[in-house]
Subunit: 237 residues, 2 copies
DNA sequence: TAACCGTACTTACGATGTAAGCAAAGCATG
DNA sequence: CATGCTTTGCTTACATCGTAAGTACGGTTA
């Protein structure tokens, strides 16, 4: 029996096929997944369309352009921060706890989306003075409120915001790059022969290569974050 | 009188025309200039060819691909560091002076090439453990030598290298982005109407907007750099 | 002169982003 | 039910891209 009532079931889509219906969020999520799997360079409207069983042009109903698609993907990834239970929009246990949680939340995001993260870092934000990786006005407001409530002056809060942003961008961008995130374009299917640079002229490099390749990112991140918090704390007095 | 001797004048090019002859370095420099003027997105082989009064395909004589062209541009820009008289490859007045000069040299580079700098930051380096923005084995060797000579252990030198890289990437990337560097693709010829985001829900943002837009990058860079040097110094003991 | 070679141009192909128009299916009305 | 509007997706078409392959031409050397 076919109901043709006023309110349709959520599964109302394409009647013959069983394709779950296109919508902007679905496109953005598929885009994020695609980038994580194949890299930004490989993402084309046609290929993303194919991924969704749809022609490229159909995407333009929900996304004005490829550029906007990338912005949307970035935004939707950053928005995951809202659903991280470890991160509080409102500070609960003081500003240091707030910043620690925020930083670690962003780090989790970066590690979870190593291919998307460089986009987060390099795409222009909605307002020129909103900086990556927070990117959203709401988070900046949240940040500034946490700091001013804790006793930072307006100037100090703004300075802290810039220092915090810079710190995160630098550390996370490099950490993610080191993940073999293949940040740029090239997918190098050539591990050993010439990719191994010639170190004969650089004895110290040669000696320290193992140390350099070692992954101590978590510890160093925490140590540098600690130092940053100390520095901010010392400005409070 | 036409000289057809064995050694030609430097102007030996195209006989009829007065075009100065193509070579890789000229292409890379033209590419850097083009990017600074029009942004990376606008750089195509055809357009760069036109800039040099040459067909696109002629460039492929000197540059294997567009990707390699970008890498080459990055490399040639970073190599300017060698000709900065303020920066020493060998430390002369202690490791702190060395790091200060290096950091300021890179900052000058970033400010001079705001459009190219994000490429420096995000392109994969020649070896995975060589990090932006130094990018070259020779500078990494120089860095590590300066630190170990100053009494840092191998582990500490490597850790310092990572901290220093992260610091520079973060600060310079954001500084350059704030330059209106239009880091991404869009050239927005629309300053006032909707580019001005709606701040009604964010009172603190509204109040601090002037502070946030203020450019204090130089001072904050120096302050953060100072803090980093202090932190490294405290590890020495 | 002839052979050669490096340089630059021409042509051509597949892939891209996207403008414009079209078709079909859902809903709201008579 | 018939009619029309709106939403959704497909089709076609075009300029532009990176680049493979072939060609023409001038300078050097023999």
């Amino acid at each position: 029996m076919v109901e043709s009532g006023t309110s349709a079931s959520p599964e109302t889509g394409h009647p013959g096929g069983d394709r779950p219906r296109l919508d902007r969020q679905r496109i953005l999520e598929a885009g994020a997944v695609f980038i994580e799997e194949h890299g930004v360079r490989q993402l084309s409207m046609r290929r993303l369309g194919a991924e969704l069983d749809v022609e490229a042009m159909s995407l333009y109903r929900y996304v004005p352009s490829r550029e906007d698609l990338l912005d949307g993907i970035v935004e939707s990834v950053v928005d995951e921060l809202y659903s991280d239970p470890e991160v509080y929009v409102e500070p609960r246990y003081g500003w240091q706890d707030y910043l620690l949680r925020l930083a670690h939340g962003l780090r989790r995001l970066a590690v979870k989306h190593p291919q998307v993260f460089p986009l987060i870092a390099t795409r222009p934000a909605e307002a020129p003075w909103v900086r990556p990786p927070l990117r959203s006005l709401r988070w900046v407001e949240s940040f500034l409120r946490a700091m001013t409530q804790a006793g930072f002056s307006n100037e100090q809060a703004v300075e802290a915001y810039r220092a915090f942003s810079s710190f995160l961008i630098g550390n996370l961008l490099l950490e993610v790059a080191a993940l073999g995130a293949d940040i740029g374009p090239v997918e190098d299917p050539d591990p050993s022969p010439s990719r191994q640079a010639d170190l004969t002229d650089y004895p110290l490099l040669q000696e320290l290569q193992d140390l350099l390749s070692e992954d101590r990112s978590k510890q160093e991140f925490d140590a540098a974050l600690d130092a940053l918090l100390d520095r901010l704390d010392s400005q409070l007095t």
